[in-house]
Assembly symmetry: C2
Homo-oligomer: 217 residues x 2
């Protein structure tokens, strides 16, 4: 499958590398065509990964991953252009972290709204599925790293078929169907984004980011 990955940071590199490893055609998108981190990503994967602008990655991908920093996600998507996004599935991994008020960060969109919803409202013909935003990126693509993969990930989105496509991708990352919990429409992204303040404090208290939560009942 052709997949566009927005963002050149650790999350984009991790997601993009996993997708290449799984045999997908990947283009990493960024603001400029000569982004150094994107070049390093492409070099690492030889001819198996492309790089381009956000617009080029959007055009290339049948499915898109938003791995940009949450504060810049809307600008990145706007610079890609709505016409190139319409009809595409966007897997939104970003969290709207605001580092301007000290550490740990607060959220710039919160409570009565979420980044996932804001992206969906801004691009109504794109199919936004919030996913994977509740954990460190190493676990997103390798859940088996801890407890044999027996812990949870969540999806939120308005389009049932798009959520099925995302579940298929998540299974290919190693997630068991029984551990993927569909929380409902895109407004449920408020729940997973607002988990970040707790995530950050668990990380602070345990000094270990390679953790996740398992729902027990």
């Amino acid at each position: 499958m052709k997949i566009g990955v927005f963002g050149t940071g650790m999350v984009g590199d991790t997601i993009g590398s996993k997708l290449v490893e799984l045999g997908h055609e990947v283009m990493m998108g960024s603001r400029t065509r000569d982004n150094e981190k994107a070049k390093a990503f492409a070099d690492k994967h030889g001819g198996r990964a492309k790089i381009g602008t956000f617009a080029e990655a959007a055009e290339f991908g049948e499915i898109l991953f938003n791995c940009t920093a949450g504060g810049g996600s809307l600008d990145a998507l706007k610079s890609a252009g709505e016409s190139k996004l319409n009809g595409k599935i966007l897997i939104d991994i970003a969290n709207p972290l605001d580092f301007s008020k000290g550490m740990p960060p607060t959220l710039s969109i919160v409570n009565t709204n979420s980044l996932g919803e804001e992206i969906q409202k801004t691009f109504p013909l794109m199919k936004v599925v919030k996913a994977l935003n509740t954990m460190w990126c190493g676990l997103m693509v390798n859940p088996a790293m801890i407890r044999g993969g027996d812990h949870n990930t969540f999806i939120s989105g308005n389009d049932a078929a798009a959520k099925e496509s995302v579940k298929t991708l998540l299974r290919s990352f190693g997630w068991a169907d029984s551990n993927i919990l569909d929380l409902g429409d895109i407004s449920s992204a408020r729940g997973t984004e607002m988990f970040l303040p707790l995530w950050l404090r668990i990380w602070g208290a345990t000094q270990n980011g390679a953790f996740n939560i398992k729902i027990v009942s």
Copy 2:
């Protein structure tokens, strides 16, 4: 130990009943001395539980539990009177749920503040410890009900000795030390209160409130 329980709802009844069962002297406090639910609580426990006003429960208790609805917690504490609260430990279980904007509820204090912090700021000589606010009340006092009790609860507060006292109480409820995670000062209550929007959506998706989260790593 003499313990004052603020609030006559399901949470206050559950916490108060467990404390009576453990042999503590309990007074349930509410706005008026003739609250019907408080009377039912006292009747259920015969002579082993008292009822009174918030001020009387605050005076009675060496340790206090805030089991009021989050939107009314500050008013309830103010009506008790600061002089009766000074020096006391308050275990704050409440969440600032706002039902005015539809379901699931939003939070009335959030992101750059929390109910726990607001209570601590309003009563600087009281020792506020946020605890148990991340689960259904049945599990608070009976963690062994699921998975042999192997799941997590969190504490937040500025006073180390007060947190030790709360941990002792939590152990008496059945919580293993290794499952009680100290997140830091009272500002970390933002993390546990902001977990509620995710908690509510997990509940909605699974139709089961008797769940908790286990941190796995």
